[in-house]
Symmetry: C2
């Protein structure tokens, strides 16, 4: 039918913007193979509080089913929004008097809504190099000009940020917002130092830029003495838009995220969300209320810390033991990922992947996370999902493959 053929052509342009993840295609090879996979991003299901959630789900449906199964307001179930505000305050996230909160269908929807309402074609958006791929996917749909700022062990290099902002401003460009994942960065695994956080806030204030702070991980860091003060708390001008989610501290299958920010913005986010999906699952929200209230989230956080710390330690020890000298890798204080950078820029980890899979290990080639196409000699390694006892072996195999490749390079 010509209509469908026309649609294929028409949609080819659209799908250029919504490109199928080539990495996802590559990784499909792992299905059915015996492969130790560092390529996922899934939380470990042993962290899910199944018994408690089963009871809570049953209770909220039986006792509050008239509301829990019904349509609910776009901005979120009021009781849940209040619960979230209190939970955030308890965790040291400052809630201003001119703030509001909206519930989203996961953080992904928050990113899509931010992109949809805030990005005009060619607007300048600043991101870290690398950054969260799903955020790039969400933002790119709205055709921004992406400017990337490199990172190191202490997160985004804010001196380079300041230079770049000055340059853009002197060229008459307006920066719409800076998107940052300050704690336990995905994919880089690094955390923004407190000095750089303050510097970032200063730059944003001086040049009148908004900050989108994406924080899924600060609730369960593995090490003591690390500064995890949110940008939202350091900010005294209401210019930080704070995103978070229950995906890692309760369960991702519920699709519960939220945005905390200035009322003006939340109001517009609400209108965008309304036409997107009317509202987030009411049942999930009622389950979330009870999960926070009954301490299930707190206990899940403790279990996450315990399970993931061991796995992180196993991966770091194995890298110390086996990985080639000259390689750099991050030492994450939280989260689910670390990034590995190979000593030679002549190795393209995307080309390395099929060999690695053949040898029995998978990873995510890092270049997709870099908005400027660099980073081809990096890879993201997930430690939350593989079995603890497989991690050393997986790193050992990976290191062999890398050594072999370096000899050839």
């Amino acid at each position: 039918m010509s209509t469908l053929i026309d649609y294929q052509k028409f949609l080819a342009e659209r799908t250029g913007l919504m490109r199928a993840s080539e990495i996802r295609e590559l990784l499909k090879i792992t299905e059915g193979k015996k492969v130790i996979s560092f390529a996922g991003g899934l939380p470990d299901p042993q962290v899910f509080p199944k018994a408690e959630l089963a009871e809570i789900a049953r209770d909220v449906i039986l006792e509050r089913g008239d509301k829990a199964l019904q349509y609910s307001p776009t901005k979120g179930v009021t009781e849940f929004r209040v619960t979230l505000l209190n939970y955030m305050k308890k965790k040291g996230i400052a809630v201003r008097s001119d703030d509001d909160v909206i519930v989203t269908t996961g953080s992904q929807q928050a990113l899509d809504i931010v992109g949809r309402t805030m990005i005009n074609p060619q607007d300048v958006i600043i991101v870290e190099l690398p950054t969260y791929l799903a955020a790039l996917n969400a933002f790119r749909l709205y055709r921004p000009t992406l400017v990337g700022i490199p990172i190191d062990d202490n997160g985004m290099k804010t001196d380079m940020l300041e230079e770049e902002v000055k340059k853009l401003v002197s060229n008459g460009k307006r920066v719409k917002f800076i998107y940052t994942i300050p704690v336990a960065h995905n994919p880089a695994g690094v955390t923004l130092s407190i000095e750089r956080k303050k510097h970032l806030i200063e730059i944003a204030s001086q040049y009148d830029i908004l900050i989108i702070e994406d924080d899924p991980y600060s609730y369960f860091v593995y090490d003591e003495g690390v500064d995890i003060t949110p940008l939202k708390t350091l900010d005294k001008e209401g210019r930080v838009v704070y995103l978070s989610t229950l995906s890692k501290i309760l369960a991702p299958g519920l699709r519960i995220g939220w945005i905390l920010g200035n009322k003006t913005l939340i109001d517009v986010f609400e209108r965008a969300k309304q036409s997107s999906d009317l509202h987030t699952s009411t049942l999930s929200q009622f389950i979330a209320i009870e999960s926070i209230r009954r301490g299930v989230v707190d206990r899940t956080v403790e279990r996450a810390k315990m399970v993931y710390k061991k796995k992180r330690d196993a991966m770091l020890e194995a890298l110390e033991k086996y990985m080639v000298k000259g390689a750099w890798w991050s030492k994450p204080i939280g989260g689910l990922f670390l990034m590995l950078r190979l000593p030679s820029t002549e190795i393209d980890t995307k080309k390395l992947l099929p060999e690695a899979i053949e040898a029995g290990v998978a990873f995510v080639p890092g270049a997709s996370f870099f908005a400027d196409g660099s980073g081809w000699n990096t890879m993201r390694l997930n430690f939350s999902y593989p079995k603890l006892e497989e991690i050393e072996e997986g790193i050992r195999i990976l290191s062999e493959i890398v050594k072999k490749k370096l000899k050839q390079a």
Copy 2:
């Protein structure tokens, strides 16, 4: 902060497209007042299968929690997609060999995805006059040219559709798709006759147009002998994209909808959905699998028929008894709504609303549902949510208000 002020200006343009529902503002007046409301659209909670859902929720979390609480594929949990395909086949909805199905976060997301992937600015989209407001909201974001076709007791007037399509084609315009709610139309309450369904399919075939068939209601019609053959089944060319939802036949709080259509389109819908919210609530999908499997959806359908038929009958009887002569109202064979059109085009029901609320009854003024701004003397009346015993009194009060207004007009 100037950034926020700039954002307010910037977003004022965007919010023109995402306009706050003025009706919603008007209806806020009802909060706290003793009002019989025909202005809602909520299913009656007595229809929700609470006891069974409580057990199912508990079971799926305990027995399948590792998957039910985890991230899941964008297109939907495979087992749920298979369950949906079988359920649709059982209900007489034809599934073609080149079809696929995607799970959406309610029908609203399906409408947003259709708009996002299929509408270029100024593309011609054909809708009924009136049509589902939330669909207009979703489509308008993408700036189509909306062309409306009037309806009568037998649904869209397909003779006028044919004339309009011919005119558009002769003016070199391409119609992207026709959006229709064939059974128990929201807000109009009418159902497309089988003759017109066939005519619609012919027109779409002759002029190579896609059809978006939105069908939340055909699963629970109240009267025997009504033809509810889906357009999807009459279509032999794969040009119907079929949308449906569990909102009225299980519970809306789960946010479960789906799209059945050609693989090519579903593939693009999948990419749009991925950046929108990654995937629909996994827990909701597992609950839905069991609800279909254990016959809970079938039993909910029976209960919905029983509860809503009584209410529909009560509203129709009361209109017969009290409403002014010369008024027209639809006689819905299913769904949750009927439409009332007042005999004089000099009455604007939006202006009537505050008086009606003062007298103790609320409705939704119909003009917002008309893409061309007509229909100002119509109103949508919901019968699913008010109490059965209130319906007659509500219609009586409404009729008094209308009579009074007509005397003045």
